[in-house]
């Protein structure tokens, strides 16, 4: 059995080694990625103590079904992204190793301050990874907002630490009910706002368009699937298991996340470039998942995380590759692209349709599950708003797919000017990825239990979870 701490320690060790052995950095990256995928598949539940100090005093790692679920998705999408776009890694392998370690740490840690440390490492590596395409303005915005967000989160846990005297998550959740309401309001607002930056929730997501809208084939997949998965799952853990929201605060936070979903989808509707559409769609998905977490439908939220991670990995990788090889990602210019590259088109379409939640695809199953559970809670506004935003999402995705498959009136096969730059050799890896992920999404569409099993295990023993 693998000790879960190795999932953090091995990539970090390889990161330090890759500074010394500059020539072997890609080998080290691939080795760490492979090790982490293997580790995420075999680790078992448990409470891992670090340094030999028992939980409320020392730092511990919480390995339950929830974190195992997150680790599997996170490490698999990270590995797929790196292996497919190995050519784009260039000088960034050390940073990628550090970010892999920190994302695993965020998923595993059972300590609020330790979570801050990993959040900090993850966001600093994200700033560096976002400079891959040399769009420094987006990175600058991201740094400013990210620094503000980390500080707000830190301020929130400082207030809670001063009041309760503990940092351990399980200990905190048992002591949080004794805290004065006003102080809880202040601390939770700060923690929510701090996480909202990385989780792309509304007033704090100004950086997303410029960073996500300027990605290449590698960092697109890593941001939109690996980072999004880790951050939103940690958000879910904080606001479902540790701080259970009630009353006005819950209403305010829910309003923010629902508005994020709706505005994200509306903004995506008006975009012309594939990557900008996907960027706003990511904001919308983050809002949807956060809404599901806040209303207590943890199972639905987790399924949507899986759906979003795989779909966005594929779509962002392909969109980034289109940009890298053709120099543009405008839908108008790339019309008819998929007619020439049918395999890529197949994967992209499956991912998009599953994300929208069209019948026969996995997303449909997820949305039905979420909506029926929401209706059971006797709330009618939320399902109505979610359906409305999903409709917008469906329209723009299907419009995009129609244009990418259909070359236009003249009956040409495609606009050769751009599409011929994507040759068979340089699209091979993307085609393999498209087939693999596309078939996987179709597989889980017919066997939803494949993913649901772990989730229902988690939900059945949530009582002793933390």
């Amino acid at each position: 059995m693998i000790n879960p701490v190795l999932l953090i320690a091995i990539p970090l060790l390889f990161a330090f080694l890759s500074v010394i052995f500059k020539k072997a950095d890609k080998t080290l990256l691939l080795a760490a990625v492979a090790f982490n995928v293997f580790g995420a598949l075999v680790i078992q539940e448990g409470n891992i103590i670090i340094g030999g100090w028992k939980p409320p005093f020392g730092i511990n790692l919480v390995v339950d079904q929830y974190s195992i679920f997150g680790l599997m998705i996170l490490n698999i999408v990270f590995a797929l992204s790196v292996i497919t776009s190995l050519a784009s890694v260039k000088k960034y392998s050390t940073v990628l190793l550090v970010s892999l370690a920190s994302l695993n740490g965020m998923m595993l840690t059972g300590d609020l301050f330790n979570l801050f440390v990993f959040l900090e490492i993850a966001s600093i590596s994200a700033y560096i990874i976002s400079t891959m395409t040399k769009s420094f303005k987006g990175t600058f915005n991201y740094i400013i907002l990210g620094a503000l967000g980390s500080n707000l989160y830190l301020l929130g846990i400082i207030i809670l630490y001063a009041t309760t005297g503990t940092l351990n998550m399980a200990d905190m959740s048992s002591k949080i009910s004794f805290v004065n309401n006003n102080i809880l309001l202040l601390a939770l607002t700060f923690i929510f706002a701090g996480f909202a930056v990385e989780a792309k929730i509304m007033p704090f997501n100004g950086w997303v368009k410029m960073v996500y809208g300027n990605v290449n084939d590698l960092n697109g997949g890593i941001f939109a699937s690996a980072y999004a998965t880790a951050v939103i799952l940690v958000f879910g853990r904080l606001f479902t298991s540790i701080f259970v929201l009630e009353g006005n605060l819950k209403t305010i936070f829910l309003t923010i996340t629902v508005l994020t979903f709706i505005f994200g989808e509306i903004a995506a509707f008006s975009q012309k470039n594939i990557r900008s559409i996907l960027a706003f769609s990511s904001i919308g998905q983050a809002g949807l998942i956060a809404t599901l977490f806040l209303t207590g439908i943890t199972g639905g939220a987790m399924m949507q995380v899986a759906n979003n991670a795989f779909a966005k990995l594929l779509m962002f990788t392909i969109a980034g590759a289109m940009y890298v090889y053709t120099g543009t990602d405008s839908i108008e210019k790339l019309q008819g692209l998929f007619k020439k590259h049918k395999l890529i088109g197949f994967g992209f379409s499956v991912a998009a349709l599953s994300l929208v939640g069209l019948p026969l695809f996995y997303g449909f199953y997820v949305k039905i599950f979420a909506l029926t559970n929401l209706l059971k809670l006797n709330s009618f506004w939320l399902p109505a708003l979610i359906l409305f935003a999903s409709l917008i999402e469906g329209i723009y995705y299907i419009r995009m797919l129609a244009k990418l498959w259909n070359p236009g009136k003249e009956g040409k096969e495609s606009k050769d000017e751009y599409t011929t730059k994507l040759t068979l050799e340089n699209t091979f890896a993307y085609a393999v990825l498209a087939i693999a992920v596309g078939l996987f999404i179709i597989y889980i569409s017919y066997n939803p239990e494949f993913i649901t099993q772990g989730i229902s295990n988690y939900l059945s023993n949530i009582a002793g979870g933390m």
Binding site: A9, F16, I49, G52, I128, T163, N181, N182, I183, L186
Partner: protein
């Protein structure tokens, strides 16, 4: 107009923080300065070094085999009880320095507008040795006196900065600093993994903790602090050389 709105938002936020933080009412309140009840805090056990319930008075130079043998209680917390966080903080510095290296590094040394004068050059030659030795002293004695890896490392880097200021031609060997940085970081992790294989816990203090206050005490704490010091020193030196270099002309 923008500034007025910004000022208003800051004012509202300030009132929001102030009224909520110092509110009175039911439940646990934010403690006033100096009025904290230490006994209900987790950190109380760190200060008394009795996390594993082996309570007893700790006496300087007398107590043997204390739970965490370092005389400086901050070091106990930073490098022993919460060593995992320190590993993270070291990584924060590592990845920031790496990012600056990726974005700013150049091949040639930046020249100053006014060349450094003779007095500065001579003074730096005298002072820098002392600064280096003090830096090394601080991180070796991190478990006994205030200080430790981070301040000691910064001091080493300040000596490098003085070299840079006093000499237009001076350029550190970035590559050897990188090797030092990577080695120190790897050794920190390898010691953590040794703890995992010898004691069963990652970053476990597997060496005897000795007598409180002696130089050779506190198990792996001083060893780790030496790695942290070397790592911070080499990282900050690399930062300085990255900032003071230019793209090739």
């Amino acid at each position: 107009m923008k500034k007025v709105i910004a000022a208003l938002i800051v004012l509202v936020l300030g009132i929001f923080i102030f009224t909520n933080l110092y509110s009175t009412g039911e439940g646990k309140l934010f403690p006033k300065f100096g009025e904290v009840n230490l006994t209900e805090r987790v950190s109380n056990s760190f200060v008394n070094k009795n996390v594993s319930e082996n309570s007893g008075e700790i006496k300087f130079k007398k107590t043997k085999d204390a739970e965490s043998g370092s005389a400086n209680m901050v070091t106990s917390i930073v490098v022993n009880y919460r060593s995992f966080d320190t590993l993270g903080e070291v990584t924060v510095l590592f990845v920031s320095a790496l990012g600056i290296g990726l974005l700013l590094s150049g091949n040639t040394r930046m020249k100053f507008k006014t060349p450094p004068n003779f007095i500065l050059k001579t003074a730096v030659r005298i002072i820098s040795g002392i600064i280096l030795i003090t830096g090394v002293y601080i991180f070796i004695h991190g478990h006994l006196t205030p200080g430790g890896g981070f301040p000691g490392g910064s001091m080493i880097a300040s000596a490098v900065l003085l070299f840079y200021i006093s000499d237009d031609e001076f350029k550190t060997k970035v590559k050897s600093f990188k090797v030092l940085e990577g080695t120190a970081g790897s050794l920190y992790l390898i010691f953590g993994l040794l703890g995992l294989s010898l004691g069963g816990y990652f970053l476990y203090n597997f060496l005897p903790t000795g007598t409180v206050g002696e130089l050779f005490s506190a198990g792996i704490v001083p060893i780790i602090y030496i790695f942290v010091g070397l790592k911070v020193g080499s990282e900050l030196s690399n930062l300085i050389s990255d900032f003071l270099s230019e793209e090739g002309k």
